[in-house]
């Protein structure tokens, strides 16, 4: 039909490095997201351990001030953008098509492009360590500290360009999954039969689609301020530092829900399975998720209560922030009601989910506390907030993710993660987490500010700091246990049956691991929990394979475009001539992409 460019992939390969580089299979892409996510999670965790080691005693001398500032900045950036988000992406890449009964996402090549662009941005951002110029202004990067006058060197350019690339990746992935969820559902999979997890991903994708462009503009403005002498955020030239705060938090607050909602989705799948009963108040949970998303766009200024916000906006943003507590509360009650009357099996997956419930609740409660501006003026930028965000993001998001790992590992790889190791991992994480972060509430009440590399003795902060540091080491050990469990599973024989947990959702209808085409027969969905419906009505699903399963062929072009974008980004850090090269490469790859036969 058209002449393909010389680079077009001619043969399909299923193994080897090339199969990974050119894959458009949502499962392989999911695995790559997962592996990169876990790797960056470990690096970011290591940064956290260094931070805790420095703070164990007053006047710590292990790390100097500048390195410390780089560490806490990169810890946040890497955990959020390179750790938790891609681990969430691993789950939605793997699960959304399987859960809605599709053979792939709507745009498989675009999906590969998202991953490679994510990796490009991640490597660019991380490479700032290698050049000794990691961002050191906090992940929120408040102007004018980010202006050239105060941050010499290229740290902020790494930040801006890295996040721009990551933003492109997330936006494209989100577009892809929204379309997939709208258009690719199997016959009978109506909106209100979709698993809660899919709903939550739908919400997450919309949040990203509508919030990332705002961050993009902010990043472009930082970049222009630093490289083309504009004054968007520089008060000396008529700019306004608060403009950055608004742009950043209009993105930044929805981002918090981007991190937590996938885990809420995971918990909503794990709890019913191991309680042996359907989720309680399905539509309430879904609508609560939707209202959290909508409200999430109307609360950003609660990060700015101390900036001199007038009384009326303070009251309004306080009200909208507190309002989020309502759907969150509804969700927690519904999860509890899901467990009520059940026959709860305790294993690593369900324990992490129940852990999520407890820890996320604590984070939610402290969140409502500083929704009140008077209280916020005493808590903002203290360790109380550090405690709060870690209860939400570690106790919440990360516990949900690990619950998901233990739950879906047999589906993904056909092998179980060791149950005993899993429980050790859980207790190390649960105890370590509470030892690390609960005392931080106290430190906050005692007036210890965040982002300080040292503190004086005799302020009463010593005890809780040493406790927190010890707790963080437990978390490190817990992570080692998890890695050992992964290694053990990797070495073991694949022995997982199709549906080992007697779970209700469609992904358990196919083999473990699923074939490349996901389902031999595109499933027809009769009820909200299709496999339990089958079980209760003694239906056996047909196993004969469809004759004509058409899968998209692998392609180099997604990778090539991402490399082009990376080169473009490197150019933005060095000389714009290199950027031009990158743009040329992008054009070439798009050209090839368009002309590449997909059938």
């Amino acid at each position: 039909m058209t002449t393909a460019l010389p680079l077009a992939v001619k043969e399909e390969t299923n193994s080897g490095i090339w199969s990974w580089l050119t894959t458009v299979d949502h499962k392989k892409i999911g695995t790559m997201y997962g592996v990169s996510g876990v790797v960056f999670f470990i690096i970011a965790g290591f940064e956290a351990l260094l931070i805790r080691t420095q703070l164990a005693v007053p006047n710590g001398t292990i790390i100097d001030a500048d390195t410390y500032n780089q560490l806490f900045t990169m810890h946040a950036l890497m955990m959020i953008f390179l750790g938790v988000m891609p681990m969430g992406a691993a789950f939605f890449n793997w699960l959304v098509p399987l859960m809605i009964g599709a053979r792939d996402v709507a745009f498989p090549r675009l999906n590969a492009f998202s991953f490679w662009t994510f990796l490009s941005g991640a490597l660019l951002l991380t490479s700032s360590w290698i050049f000794g110029d990691a961002p050191d202004v906090g992940w929120f990067a408040y102007a004018p500290l980010t202006e050239k006058a105060y941050t010499v060197g290229q740290a902020m350019d790494f930040y801006a360009v890295g996040l721009l690339l990551l933003g492109v990746a997330s936006t494209v992935a989100s577009l892809n999954f929204v379309v997939t969820i709208i258009n690719m559902r199997a016959p009978g999979m109506s909106w209100f039969r979709m698993p809660v997890f899919v709903w939550m991903i739908f919400v997450v994708a919309w949040l990203l689609i509508l919030s990332l462009p705002v961050l993009t503009i902010g990043l472009v403005q930082i970049y222009f301020d630093r490289n083309f002498d504009t004054n968007f955020f520089n008060p000396m030239g008529g700019g306004d530092p608060l403009l950055w705060q608004h742009l950043f938090w209009i993105f930044g607050h929805p981002e918090v829900y981007v991190l937590i909602l996938p885990s809420m989705g995971i918990v909503s799948e794990v709890l019913p399975t191991f309680s042996r009963k359907p989720i309680f108040g399905y539509s309430a949970i879904v609508f609560a998720g939707l209202s959290i998303a909508v409200l999430g766009f109307a609360v950003w200024s609660h990060h700015m209560f101390t900036t001199g916000l007038g009384p009326v906006p303070s009251i309004v943003f306080s009200a909208s922030t507190m309002a989020i507590g309502v759907p969150t509360g509804v969700k927690i009650f519904n999860w509890l009601a899901t467990m009520w009357g059940g026959s709860i099996r305790f294993n690593s997956a369900s324990m992490f989910s129940i852990g999520f419930l407890a820890l996320f609740t604590i984070g939610g409660i402290s969140g409502v506390m500083h929704a009140s501006p008077p209280i916020d003026t005493q808590q903002q930028d203290t360790y109380f907030i550090v405690a709060h965000i870690h209860y939400v993001l570690f106790g919440g998001a990360v516990f949900g993710i690990f619950s998901g790992f233990y739950y879906w590992w047999p589906k993904f790889f056909g092998r179980f993660l060791d149950e005993k190791l899993g429980q050790i991992h859980f207790w190390l994480f649960f105890i370590g987490m509470n030892l690390t972060f609960f005392p931080m509430h106290f430190l906050g009440v005692q007036g210890m500010p965040r982002r300080i590399y040292r503190y004086d003795a005799d302020l009463g902060w010593e005890t809780w700091n040493i406790v927190a540091t010890l707790g963080s080491y437990l978390l490190g050990v817990g992570m080692l246990v998890f890695l050992y469990a992964v290694w053990k599973a990797y070495k073991s024989e694949p022995d997982a049956p199709d549906n080992p947990w007697d779970a209700p959702t469609l992904e358990w209808a196919t083999s473990s691991p699923p074939p490349e085409h996901d389902f031999d027969v595109v499933p027809v969905v009769e009820a909200r929990d299709p496999l339990w419906y089958d079980r209760d009505n003694n239906i056996t699903r047909e196993k004969t394979k469809d004759e004509h399963i058409h899968l998209p062929p692998p392609s180099y072009y997604p990778l090539l475009i991402s490399i082009g974008l990376l080169v473009g980004g490197i150019g933005m850090l060095t000389t714009l001539m290199i950027s031009a090269l990158g743009v040329l490469l992008v054009f070439y790859a798009i050209w090839g992409w368009v002309l590449e036969p997909t059938s």
Binding site: A65, D66, N69, Y142, A143, L145, Y150, P235, D240, S275, R276, K277, P278, F280, G281, T306, T307, G308, P311, S314, I315, S318, M322, G325, V326, G329, V330, G341, G342, S343, I344, F346, T361, I362, I365, V368, A371, S372, P374, I375, T377, Q378, Q380, D381, F430, I431, N434, F438, P439, G444, V445, Q446, G447, P449, R450, R451, Y453, R454, L459, G460
Partner: protein, 357 residues
């Protein structure tokens, strides 16, 4: 296994409560505590804080108990089947109303406190202009014509109004026991006021709480709340011009310090103490760095980080970046005078400074 798990859960649960209670007791006395208010504004905040904390504790206990109870009661047991039900509209409505009720209970006192917190200061308030700089605070009493740094005195039971600005990056002004924090945003001018209710000898500790660069951790300040008489005395002292050097060593130091061009710096410009510092009644008229007219009257140097004594002053002048990372001549900060002056010279300067009571 289950009973072990349950015991562990109960153990860690009660451990948390235990930790919580033992921690409560020390909060009141910690030097930088946020829960021992000593001004009208701090009390205003405290009232909301206490209410919300109790509610938070109740919700915490109820939900944690529910999680443990449900996990235990409905654990997998042979012969017990899970009950199959999907939802209950009445329950849904009830537990939508419960959080709404809690949130409204929190919101009403919040909305009540905000206008008071953000109200204009009374007309008789003592005005203090604060400028945040990397990494110290400059304080000016415009009505009293006093300029000082990192340490202020205010009279008890008199409203004090702060005008908060910054000349470089964003800082935040926070004295936990006297009120909530307010950011110092360059290009903006923020207000804050309170009436301190308790005079005491020890300082109320303050700290910058918006990350502001390398030495953010080293940006502290102290507020002394004095009885009115003590305050008047302090004002009197501060308003006087600097006394001439007394001792022989101090005289040498004075001459050295006031010598406008002490040396030529790395980048070729003429630099000396007086380029940046001001000492009222002398030729030192610099405006960029802390006013030294009464430096010896302050309890700390380097923005509240080190005790103000001879040893520390010598260390500071010799190599400030050793005491406070990020201070650099290249970015307009205090130079390393050990590169320009001999040990004896620095000692003589310190001798002079120590006389500036």
């Amino acid at each position: 296994m289950l009973s072990i798990m349950k015991r562990k859960t109960v153990f860690s649960f009660s451990a948390i409560i235990g930790i919580f209670l033992s921690a409560c007791s020390s909060w009141q006395t910690d030097p930088q505590t946020t829960v021992n208010p000593k001004s009208d504004m701090a009390y205003l905040i405290q009232d909301v804080y206490v209410l919300v904390s109790w509610l938070a504790l109740i919700v915490f206990v109820v939900i944690m108990f529910a999680i443990v109870y449900i996990s235990w009661k409905f654990r997998e047991r042979p012969g017990v089947e899970a009950q199959q039900f999907h939802g209950d509209t009445r329950l849904e409505i009830i537990w939508t109303l419960i959080p709404i009720l809690i949130v409204v209970t929190i919101f009403i006192p919040t909305a009540n406190a905000i206008p008071k917190m953000k109200s204009d200061p009374p007309a008789n308030a003592l005005q203090i202009d604060v400028v945040g700089k990397q990494w110290w605070f400059e304080f000016k009493y415009p009505e009293l014509n006093i300029t000082t740094a990192n340490e202020i005195h205010i009279p008890v039971n008199t409203p004090v109004a702060f005008n908060l600005e910054s000349t470089d990056v964003i800082h935040a002004f926070w004295i936990p026991q006297l009120g909530g924090k307010v950011d110092m945003v360059p290009g903006h001018s923020n207000k804050m006021w309170f009436t301190p209710t308790e005079a005491r000898k020890e300082a109320y500790l303050g700290q910058c709480t918006e990350f502001c660069g390398t030495s953010h951790a080293n940006m502290l300040f102290r507020v002394f709340v004095d009885e009115q008489d003590d305050f008047n005395q302090w004002v009197n002292d501060q308003q006087s011009v600097a006394i001439p050097a007394q001792s022989e060593l101090a005289k040498q130091g004075e001459a050295l310090l006031l010598n406008n061009v002490a040396f030529i710096s790395e980048n070729g410009s003429a630099v000396g103490c007086v380029t940046c510092h001001k000492i009222e009644g002398t030729t030192a008229m610099g405006m960029l760095a802390p006013n030294l007219t009464h430096i010896a009257s302050r309890s700390t140097i380097a923005a509240g980080v080190f005790e103000n004594n001879k040893e520390n002053l010598i260390k500071w002048i010799s190599n400030p970046s050793k005491m406070k990372p990020g201070v650099s001549e290249r970015t307009g900060g205090m130079p390393m005078y050990e590169n320009y002056l001999s040990e004896e010279q620095i000692e003589s300067i310190v001798a002079y400074l120590m006389e500036l009571q």
